[in-house]
Symmetry: C3
Subunit: 292 residues, 3 copies
């Protein structure tokens, strides 16, 4: 595994190896890398948890983090992504973690570079480290994927997370349902009302309503979204005893989920954040190990 | 001491312990923390000296600093302060240092969090680490507070520093006078001309004129402020032999103080910056120690 | 050598010492500094390679980098450069690396400061660490400067690099030619067409066309610049066998140089980036060593 660009590039075996290594790190195992690697995190879009999570993970496996201020870089002078990344390679960076707004920006980085590239989100495309931490959260909870019913709720058309997760979960044997307003199904087959989804789901995976992207063409208010598609207090009561709630965050409280439920017993929302560090340690370790 | 939010929460004993520890650090003592703690500095308003000073202090007591770019974080997507800080806690951060523009933003952080919170300035409220470094500067100079006359000059109504310092100095036995234009007294009893304050003061503590906050309703020019309320060369000549000048900086030269006086013999303005590092080492060490 | 402000302040002996030390570092020598120094990088203008290159160099010689976010500092509140740098000195910073838009900003930093100042670019003035890495690149290639023919192509009037390099190269014995549109010669004697420059040059040093600075008064398009002054594929074919291509980057592909040539065999464009780290290690080591 030279890079991590899209969940679609990962085999089930590779996924399981990363999840196992994440578990080992959570159990206290330490990095077995042979030296301090130099990494840079190129975040061209705002992010708290993904960037900080990668930095903590990189620190924990002994990397040296070279600061990179994307908003203040030569990219603002029109430099191409390839030239920026090649420059970092020549400076001595071993791996770059990138978030950018263009779908599949990484296609320009596949040739001519020796540096490893980890995709931390490409436009409306993939967000594989988030998918892997979601999978890790589910596996920790249930121990298996086969036969689990997972309902993904929200803007499927613009969600990196939905696409990555759906592909992976189905490959691992889970049943995946989508629930969203009609205009957000983006070509996927989806439910447009809860019906009996709440009672049959083992995992309710809520997606963030991206107000940034929907300012104009939105036919409903926050309140009506919450009533129709949100996880209300009433709906939570109808969930299976063993079922859990997930959300990649940041949460819009009282839109995707009632504010009181964010830290309820079956919520794994903040636990996902904790799991993200172990998952990203596993991703970085696996990729850097492959260079030794 | 779990957090440091407001000078009003500190007992005189706690203040003295921090000042003593700051002195010990200045004398060469090193941290006795048992491990490398992870800290993040969340500055939602511009700052050079406070942020850099905390970072140097954190470095000197062996912390690991996880970068956090406030201007580029999920807060810009509407995430609440609680959710942001909880996220950092789950990522493994032990303490957060926060500057934000809302008064008492920290009231939302008092419940549900295990991470330590250090307030580095809340709107027009408190700025306790600045108060403590001011106290440390005075104690180093005079050895005591009892009976000292301290005159605080400037915008009392919008100054975090004035409020924190006045409370603490009075508790420690100092006599505090305020001097300011009438419209800036903010409910405090204040002088509106220098009268004999210059001759009786042991400490003249100048506050920054915050042009940012006064664009509209300001009845005087920079020049006239300097003439009426500034520390001019003439006024400095009338100060007691042993008296000192303080300013939290950044200084507006020739407004609060004549430019030639910024580094004069009795100025402690840059010395305060040096003292700030030792004071913040003491603050962070005390709070992190309390977690062991 | 207390500071590094301008190539004009360096003797030929000092230049050669830095180039030799850079070579030693490239050969694997490690820093001989006696302690971890604290440095801050103040970049008031965007930069990828210079800032990251300094940070990597600082890291490699064992410095502690205190983060400084120029766009979010007290300078935005009107603090002078002197007061900002003095503040960093009092906080315990040993050396500051500064890029700023004002020509010779460093003249305000010559008195009253003990901190070392390294100029990483001042407006349209000097950029000595870039000049030194260019010299290092040439010396590594040819082993000497005496008698080499170097053609510098581009906006001489606004280029820090051109001015620094021309002075130094001539002092070291090279023949320097300038090639540029008439309106960009900035008082220097320059060619305005390639003539036989392509055949006689050992080094073609291309400068970046700074569209940022030329929006208005530009009498030619990108395409016509490339045809008249750019290094086209045809021109590259006429170069001497041993001749090399240099560019400080970021490159405007198909303006200064045909995109296909950026990584051609005789291009040293990315090699310059690699050389920059060793050169900056040598600069920082020399200056910090001088403080011991």
């Amino acid at each position: 595994m030279k890079n991590l660009l899209s969940m679609e590039h990962l085999t089930t075996e590779e996924i399981n190896q990363i999840l196992d290594l994440a578990q080992a790190f959570e159990n206290g195992e330490t990095s077995s890398l042979s030296r301090r690697y130099n990494v840079a995190n190129l975040f061209f879009e705002p992010s708290t948890r993904t960037k900080t999570s990668f930095e903590m993970a990189e620190y924990k496996i002994g990397c040296n983090i070279i600061p990179f201020d994307a908003g203040f870089s030569s990219v603002t002078k029109g430099e191409t992504m390839y030239d920026t990344v090649k420059t970092l390679e020549m400076i001595g960076i071993d791996a770059v973690v990138i978030r950018a707004s263009e779908d599949e920006y990484y296609n320009d980085l596949l040739e001519g570079l020796h540096v490893a590239v980890i995709n931390a989100g490409d436009g409306a495309g993939q967000h594989p480290s988030q998918s892997l931490l979601d999978l890790y959260t589910i596996k920790k909870e249930f121990g298996y994927f086969e036969g689990l019913t997972v309902t993904i709720v929200g803007d499927i058309s613009h969600s990196r997370v939905a696409k990555s997760n759906a592909t992976a979960l189905q490959n691992l044997g889970a049943n995946v349902h989508f629930l969203c307003p009609e205009e957000w199904s983006g070509g996927f087959e989806a439910h447009h009302s809860w019906d009996n989804l709440i009672e049959i789901s083992d995992v309710i995976m809520l997606l963030r309503v991206q107000h940034e992207r929907h300012k104009e063409n939105c036919s409903f208010s926050k309140e009506s979204y919450h009533q129709k598609f949100g996880l209300t207090i009433e709906r939570e009561r109808q969930m299976k005893d063993s079922a859990i709630i997930m959300h990649p965050a940041p949460v819009n409280r009282d839109v995707e989920i009632a504010s009181e439920l964010v830290e309820c017993e079956r919520s794994r929302i903040f636990e996902q954040v904790r799991n993200g560090v172990y998952t990203r340690m596993a991703i970085m370790e696996t990729i850097l190990k492959g260079r030794e």
